[in-house]
Every structure is written in C-alpha cells, then in structure tokens.
C-alpha cells in the first residue's frame, strides 16, 4: 500500500521565481503572507495587551510614535537593524541552498572578538581609522568564515548535521569570548571583565542619516546580494543545490565546495556584523555583548522570504518593533518582552500562511 501518498509531492513555499504566467500570484503569496502575518500577530498582541488592562490602540500608537516621531527612533531602528540585516542576508542565501545553519550568533561574537583584539592590540591601536577599519572588516569576516567553515568541513568529512554543529559552535564561540575578556583582551583599567575600547577602529557617523557607517555598508550589500542571487552562476548553484544536490554534483560542481562557499558567506557577514556592532554601538565587548541578534536574524531571513530586499524590509520591521515596544514600555504598563511574543507569532503565521497558500493556490503547472 502506498501510504503517505498525499505527501508525495510536498509543495514547499515556492521561493524560486521562475517568471511566466504565475508570476503575479507567486509575488502575491510572497508578499501577502507576511503582511497578513503581521496583522494577525499584532491582533493577538492586542488581546494580550488588553489582558494587561491597557488599551491596545494606545499602546500601538506609542509603538508607532516610538519609531517614527520620537527623538532618535528611526536612528535606533536603523542601528539595531544593521546586524540583523547583515546576518539575515547571509542566512537567506544559506536557506535558499537548504543549509540550515543556526550558528550566525557564534560567528558574530567571534568576529567581534577578533576584530577588537586586533584593534586594541599594543602598537596597532594607534593606527588611523582608514587603516584599522578595513583591516578589522577583513579580520572579523575571515574569523566568521573560518568558524562557519568548520560546520562545512564536519558535514563534508563526517556527514554531521550543519544545524547541530553550527549551534554547538556558537556555545564554544561565546565561551571563548567570555574567557578572552577576562584574560587576553581584558581592559586592565576595568573592574568588570570587558575589553578595551575599540578606539580608532570605531565607525564614523554618517552625516544626514545620523547612523554609523555600518548601516550604510549593510544596506549597500542588499543590491549586491540580490544581483548575486539572480544574475550569477553562484546564485544559480545555490538554488540548484537547494532543490537537487545530485543534479548539481552531476552537472555543475562538487557539493562540498558549495557548502564551503555558502557557509563561508554566512560566516563572513556574521563576523562583519559583530565587528560593526562593536565599532558602531557598544565600543567594547563585555559579558553582555551577545544579545541573540544571530538568532533573531533567522527570523529576519525567513520573514524576508529569503530574498535580499525582503530581508531588508524584515530587518527594519523587526528592529522597529523592538524599538517601538521599548518606547511603549516607558509610558504603558506592558512588558517590552511582549515584542518577543509578537515576533514569534509572526513566524507561526507566516508558516501557516505559506501552507494555506500552497494548499489553495497550488500552482497548476
């Protein structure tokens, strides 16, 4: 008996755009589902706010105000979107290739640590920013690349799961960071374990935008990533390996090389994000440096439908929610952790929405 026959052709969310006659509907699902998910998540969030005895509309109005009208609201949104955007771009590419790495957080932490270690080293820290900043970018990126590459090597050599190895490497990376701020890169004048201030490697503020340079770098990477995915052989191979690694191996390139390339990109962007966070926001690394951006970036990549432009929108949206709820907490009696609930609901609704869309709008082709 051929059971499970109904699941024979599981139609996954169709993230590959083939163009042609179904294009309009395809785009409608890609964009429409997250939009409906946002509305749904905020609606349930409203119920929870009402439970707290507050008026949901007033709270949401303050969330909105917190982002758009409050002093520095937009600036803070852009700033906290930066690491999400950088890591989200990398993860989007990896997920297109069906490489479900969840280790961006570890690469982010280690990238920050190595760049900070370099920029605060004796004899180096007095160099000018034009030298330090590019050097730190390369060092942080390569560090993340190597850390992520370990997952690729383990997968190629021992067939270990990228999901598991990347997650476990994150714990190691965090532990390395905690150790180094106590011994290797410790600020000798500090009372708590923390690194020195990154100093000349700090990122300048961009005039007009009033954000640090890292945001501009991250946004500039969006079109680059988009073109890379749609117009280069590499982007093509990412899509092929995601859907049929055997065909890739038989016709294009060894899958192991693609594993290194894709996870390498994730690592580079995550390491870069770590450095940018130190150089643009925290100025130094302390025990609280890791805020879980690397995990939030997973949500950003999925909400952004694994498309660079979508990732930009999602990064700004998630970041705006965080900033807005922080502001709303100041004037209302709601915990800002409610934002985590709303974000989690968002993901659930997107997943449900894709399943529903696939069921009722099945492609005829």
């Amino acid at each position: 008996m051929t059971t499970a026959a109904v699941e024979l052709d599981p139609r996954e969310p169709e993230l590959i755009e083939t163009g042609g006659s179904h294009r309009a509907r395809h785009v409608a699902v890609l964009v429409g589902v997250p939009v409906i998910a946002v509305v749904g998540a905020l609606a349930i969030g409203a119920v929870l706010i009402a439970q707290e005895g507050e008026n949901p509309f007033a709270v949401y109005a303050d969330v909105f105000r917190g982002v758009f009208t409050e002093n520095r609201g937009l600036r803070n949104t852009a700033t906290s979107a930066t690491p999400l955007l950088l890591m989200g771009l990398g993860l989007a590419i990896a997920y297109r290739a069906r490489l479900f790495t969840i280790g961006a957080e570890g690469q982010y932490v280690l990238g920050a640590v190595m760049a900070t270690a370099f920029a605060t080293a004796h004899g180096v820290r007095d160099l000018p920013g034009v030298v330090l900043i590019p050097s730190c970018i390369v060092i942080a990126g390569l560090t993340g690349m190597v850390w992520s590459g370990i997952s690729a090597e383990l997968s190629n050599r021992f067939n270990t799961s990228v999901v598991i190895s990347s997650l476990l490497l994150t714990y190691i990376a965090t532990a390395v960071m905690q150790w180094l701020i106590r011994v290797g890169i410790k600020d000798p004048d500090g009372f708590v374990p923390q690194s020195r201030v990154i100093g000349n490697a700090g990122l300048p503020t961009v005039p007009l935008l009033n954000t640090h340079l890292g945001f501009v770098i991250a946004v500039a990477l969006v079109p680059i990533a988009a073109v890379m995915m749609s117009r280069t052989r590499f982007g093509y191979r990412v899509d092929v390996i995601g859907h049929n690694p055997i065909a890739l191996r038989a016709n294009e390139v060894a899958t192991g090389k693609m594993l290194f390339a894709v996870l390498g990109i994730v690592g580079f962007l995550s390491g870069l994000a770590g450095y940018i966070q130190v150089a643009g926001v925290t100025t130094r690394i302390n025990a609280q440096f890791s805020l879980g951006y690397g995990f939030t970036a997973i949500i950003v990549a999925l909400l952004g439908r694994l498309h660079p432009v979508g990732v930009l929108v999602a990064a700004l949206g998630i970041s705006g929610l965080n900033i807005g709820f922080d502001a709303a907490e100041r004037s209302h009696d709601v915990p800002s952790s409610l934002v985590a609930v709303v974000q989690a609901l968002l993901i659930i609704f997107v997943v449900i929405g894709d399943a529903v869309a696939n069921r009722f709008l099945r492609d005829d082709d």
Binding site: M1, A5, E17, R233, A247, A250
Partner: protein, 521 residues
C-alpha cells in the same frame, strides 16, 4: 444508473464521465472506465494522455472535476486516499515512494501498520520473506533501499501494494524498469491475483504485454478514450498502437543503425581499461566514433557503477577511462561537459533535472558563464531550442515538474545533444516513455552517433538495446560475460546474461571470489 445491479456486481470499478483539468491543461475529459474482478485491464496511451492522472484519481490522490464513480457497485461521492484504501484500491506509482534509508522489510511494515507499535525486525523480515516467496518477486532485505537497484525497488513497491491485500490493484508502468523475464513473471503474478478475484489495472507501453498478459484494454489519447473496454483478443498489437498514437506506426520501434563501412577499422574514441568500481570488476572495452555500444544485463550487475564512472561522477577504484586519449575528468562535471560528454542518466529527475526550476534554468545546468543574462533574455534564448527539440510546455518559464515524462526527457536531450557531443552516455533513455516519444529519443541519440559521437547505451529492455546497437556487451556480476556483433545471437546473449544471474546477484563488491562466469578483458 440505468444498468442493473447484477451487472455492476462483478465490476470492481466504474468511472463515468470523469474530467480533470490542471489550469489550462486538460488531463482527460469525459472518460469512462470499467474494471472487472478477475480481469487484467490494460490502460494504454502516450505520455500525457492522462493515464497516470486517471489511476491517481481512482486511488484518491487526485480529485476529479466531474464524473461519477462506483467501487464494487457502490457509488462513491467523495473519493479520497483514505476511502480508496479502505475499499481495497491500491496504487503502485511510477515514481518510487520508498524511504531510501530504511530496509525493504522496514518499508513494508511502515506502509501497513497493524498496531500502534511497529513489529520487531524479526517479524518484519518474516513478513517480507513470506511475500517474496508467495509472489516470486525477489527483494534483498537488510540493506537500505537506496542500495537496491531500480528493479528491486520497483519489485518492493509492488510487494508493498500486494501486502495490503488490495482488491483493486493499480500499477502505473510496473514493468518499465523490469527485464523481460521479470516482467513476464510479474504478469504471471497479476494473472494469479486476478484469478483470486482481484481486479488489476496495468499502465504499460509494451504492447506485447497487453497482448500476452491482459484481458481487456482501454486506450487513451489526448485525454479522451479512443478505445473503450475492448477485449484484447480481438485486437492486434499494430491496431492498438495505431489507436494509441492515432497514426500508422511501423513494426520496428527504431530504425536500423547505420553501419559505418570502416567502423571496425576506426580507433576507439572511448577506451575503458580495467575499470573496477563497486560491483564492477576489471571491465574493459572500446567504442569507436559513430558506434553505438549496447550494454545489456540484468539490473544490479554493475550498470549503475558503470554509468557513474562513464559520466565522470565517480572516480573508479582502479583502471582508466579515456576519451580520444585523454582521461575523463572524474568529479569535475563542468570539465566533463567541456569535453563534450553528453550524459542522459537513468533517473532524469534525480540526476539531470531540477524540477521546481524553469525549463530555461534547466537547459543552463552545467553550461553558461559566471555572469547570467536577465531572466527574460535567458528564457527567450532557449525558446528556439525547445521548439527544435519538440519540448512541449507552457513556455520556457514553466517549471520542469509541469512536463510529462517524454517532454522532460526531450528537455534533457535539448541540453545534452544540442551541440554535437564526442561521447554519449545514456542509460534507459526511453524508460517510461510511450512508443512515439521513445522512438524520437532513440533517433536523436542515434543522430549523435551519425555525427561522429561514440555512444554507450545501457538499457533494461534487451529488445531496444539490440535494435539500436552495433555491438553489445553483457554485464553480469560486474564482469563482461560476452561481446556480441550484429547479427545478434539472442540465445547466446541470454545465456551470457542469465549464466551468472542464475544465482542471486552479488550483494557486495567482494563477492567475486567465486565468480566463475568469465572475465571481460
């Protein structure tokens, strides 16, 4: 509902006026079908005629847009997978639905759960053994299904359906990957099942199977019934073929290969020297320009390994494969394509195509530079080629999964053979195709040989291999047990194939200690 109840009593399945559309494409329209208990009913038709959709509908996997259904004389309002199964309708699909990492017996017990707890390995194995003994379909147990040959996997699929003790057994091209003897055995099994009071529906392209093995036949063409519920005995193979394709078809499926006058004098373009890989043990042969070398043998005797080595996917454990004196770039597919080695694999969906991606993207697989043109440009660029290779689709932007089997294969040819290749490696290229598409595919491969390519044709259907090849080698237990020139001595070939396969095929590469069937080189 005008007919009497007693007429319908013997009817296992009745379909009346069924229609199914996928968007703008009509799978079939206004189809009637009657299947009776105790009979084997053949469903004939070209690829895309709607046969597969029709049987899927009977198994409840597709929903008809309109039409009425009866099972065992009982009208069925809403036919879904569960109600079909509960009524004893079982479908063996053309594409395998096994869990590749589990063994045969594990796949078996997973499919039909008798309680909340899975039976022990011992019980599961006993159940498989019992089925194997009862139906004479041999399947190895204890190794992952992915390690089984295609033929064995197919047999397991059938056993699994039989395990459910189906009253109505629907087989979607069950013999496509089986050898002649295996297919005959399967038809025997079907006959026994029918004699026990079951209804059996077989989709097949082999007319001889319809003539020899089936009682009744329904022919579909372009989604309509052109020959309804006819008695097979009243029709000839040629007549059925005409009904199927709607035109006159010659007896020979393929043209005779054009023999090159100086064929034997020419040096071999492809040289295989003492290649060992997996089951393969020291295989050597050569193929000259314009020559078609057939590789015959029962599935599982080294064909898969030979395919992987010749397609430069796998590095052989020992030995050399050279094309025009240069070693094949094993493990570097781009270089393989650059050396103009066309590869038409045995499983086109697994190895050659990416189903969710567009036709244009699939034509590009393995070709093209680092920088890609805009999507619209890419799609327009291949339209002409798709037309030339007669790939019928909704356009270059359509996803490959929307193609029928024949058109998918033609897409592979459009990619692999459009530029004249130096070497063609092809395995079961006509598998699952209707005679019309199969002939087109075979002719295109032979065209490549005429243009100077060396062709290696590995086939499951001996008749076909003999029809297209200039020379045939027989693989058995990983060795070449015979080389044959035209005119072929069928009984000698059969002996070479069967001499070694009388015992079970080797399960492990080191099983050659008692290989007494002669060596290839």
């Amino acid at each position: 509902m005008t007919m009497g109840t007693e007429t319908r009593a013997a009817e296992a399945v009745r379909v009346s006026g069924a229609s199914k559309r996928f968007g703008r494409v009509t799978a079939f329209a206004d189809v009637d079908l009657v299947v009776r208990r105790g009979e084997i009913h053949a469903l004939l038709g070209e690829n895309g005629a709607g046969k597969t959709t029709l049987v899927k509908m009977l198994a409840g996997l597709e929903t008809a847009d309109s039409g009425e259904f009866w099972i065992d004389g009982e009208p069925i309002g809403d036919l879904d997978a569960r109600s079909a199964r509960d009524r004893g309708v079982a479908l063996v699909q053309q594409h395998f639905t096994l869990v590749p990492t589990l063994t045969a017996s594990e796949n078996l017990v997973l499919a039909r759960r008798e309680s909340a707890v899975l039976p022990s390995t011992k019980v599961a194995r006993a159940r498989l053994t019992e089925l194997v003994d009862r139906f004479g379909l041999d399947v190895r147990d204890g190794v992952p299904v992915s390690a089984l040959s295609v033929g064995e996997q197919q047999r397991l699929e059938i056993l699994r359906a039989l395990d459910a003790d189906a009253g109505v057994l629907l087989l979607d091209e069950p013999t496509a990957v089986l050898t002649g003897a295996e297919a005959t055995a399967l038809l025997g099994v079907c006959r026994r099942l029918a004699d026990e009071g079951r209804a059996v529906v077989i989709i097949t392209h082999r007319l001889s199977e319809v003539i020899d093995g089936c009682d009744r036949v329904t022919v579909l063409r372009d989604g309509s019934v052109v020959l309804a519920d006819a008695t097979v005995a009243e029709h000839s193979a040629a007549g059925l073929a005409d009904a199927m394709v709607g035109r006159e078809m010659g007896d020979a499926r393929h043209r005779e290969p054009t023999t090159t006058a100086d064929g034997d004098a020419r040096p071999a373009r492809l040289r295989v020297d003492g290649v060992s890989s997996g089951v393969l043990r020291g295989v050597s042969f050569g193929v000259a320009a314009g020559e078609v070398l057939g590789v015959a043998g029962v599935d599982g005797n080294g064909q898969a390994e030979l395919e992987a080595v010749l397609a430069a996917i796998v590095v052989p454990e020992s030995g050399r494969v050279t094309l025009d004196g240069e070693e094949l770039p094993h493990g570097r597919p781009r270089e393989r394509i650059g050396r103009r080695v066309a590869y038409i694999p045995s499983d086109r969906y697994a190895t050659a195509l990416v189903r969710p991606m567009s036709l244009a993207d699939n034509v590009e697989l393995g070709r093209g530079g680092w920088w890609r043109p805009r999507r619209q440009v890419r799609q327009r660029a291949v339209e002409d080629r798709l037309a030339r290779w007669d790939v019928r689709s909704a356009g270059a932007a359509a996803a490959v999964r929307s193609l029928s089997g024949g058109n998918a294969q033609k897409l592979v040819l459009a990619r692999e053979l459009d530029e004249v290749p130096d070497l063609v490696i092809t395995c079961h290229p006509t598998r699952g195709l209707d005679p019309g598409a199969a002939r087109t595919v075979a002719e295109r491969v032979l065209d490549a040989a005429d243009d100077g390519a060396a062709v290696v044709w590995m086939g499951a259907e001996l008749e076909e291999v003999l029809a297209v090849s200039h020379r045939v080698i027989v693989l058995s237990r990983g060795r070449i047990t015979g080389t044959f020139e035209r005119p072929f001595d069928r009984s000698a070939i059969g002996l070479a194939m069967g001499g070694a396969s009388r015992s079970t095929p080797p399960a492990t590469p080191d099983d050659d200690s008692h290989g007494n069937s002669g060596s290839g080189s």
